[in-house]
Amino acid sequence: MSVGLEHYLVVGAILFSIGLFLVLAKRNAVGILMGVELMLNAANLTLVAFSRFIESPRPIDGQAFTVFVVTVAAAEASVALALIVAIYRVRQTIDVDRINILRW
């Protein structure tokens, strides 16, 4: 029994789809953000798996991409959570279905 690239790609695919499900189905803004983080994690996992298994003159590049994805994820999470707190101050809710003052 051995573990190859495909195993990691399938785990990444399942993790991505769970994140996608959270983003689509959750009504709580923090729950949606959790889904986004899971999707980014799945992308990182596939990048690192490719960097380990694929023939390349510079195999470490996949891990360098992962460092940038983690940086952007941290920036995204801080701004998104600040937005959530700012919306909560005005509306006393972070349910995305009830933040609908732009709807006519």
Binding site: S2, A13, S17, N41, N44, A77, D95
Partner: protein, 165 residues
């Protein structure tokens, strides 16, 4: 070249089960705080998967930034919105979202298994931190600098958004 070491293979299956099980529990549990705890478990499982891929630096970064910083940030967001619903089970479009997510997972997994990837037999990395540092400061120096600007912008933006006055 696939990994044959029985310890790594066993670790892969255990860590995959932890990661996917944690992610599924995030979707399933009713309390938002419990969902958050399972999310941290899933992040740590991904860090272990990085270790089985011999990406030691990325694994440490994953624990520090995801399981540490981003998790604490999320906990603060949950704690700072006390009157909002803590109920994680409220969902919209449950069935279409589940079907779409299942289709996406199936499609990506089938493509991943069906493609003949140009596999290398170089084996695990002996060390990654030094090579990663060189990669960040030689071919990726411009994105590296842009990333630092992005972090400053995000930090100032977050402070401006939640400032009270």
């Amino acid at each position: 070249m696939a990994v044959d070491d029985p310890g790594v293979v066993a670790a892969f299956w255990v860590l995959s089960a932890t990661t996917i099980g944690g992610a599924l529990m995030v979707a399933a549990v009713r309390n938002l705080i419990h969902a958050f705890l399972f999310l941290v478990l899933s992040f740590i499982g991904v860090a272990g998967l990085y270790l089985t891929l011999s990406a030691d630096f990325i694994a440490v970064v994953q624990v520090l930034i995801y399981a540490g910083a981003i998790a604490v940030l999320m906990l603060f967001a949950i704690m700072l919105t006390p009157l909002a619903a803590r109920d994680n089970s409220e969902t919209i479009f449950l069935a279409p979202a589940a079907v779409l997510a299942g289709l996406v997972a199936t499609t990506i997994a089938l493509i991943a298994v069906d493609t003949s990837w140009p596999l290398s037999d170089r084996g695990p990395f002996a060390t990654t931190a030094a090579a990663l540092g060189e990669a960040l400061l030689d071919p990726f120096v411009l994105p590296f600098e842009v990333a630092s600007v992005l972090l400053v912008v995000a930090m100032i933006g977050a402070i401006m958004l939640v400032r009270e006055d």
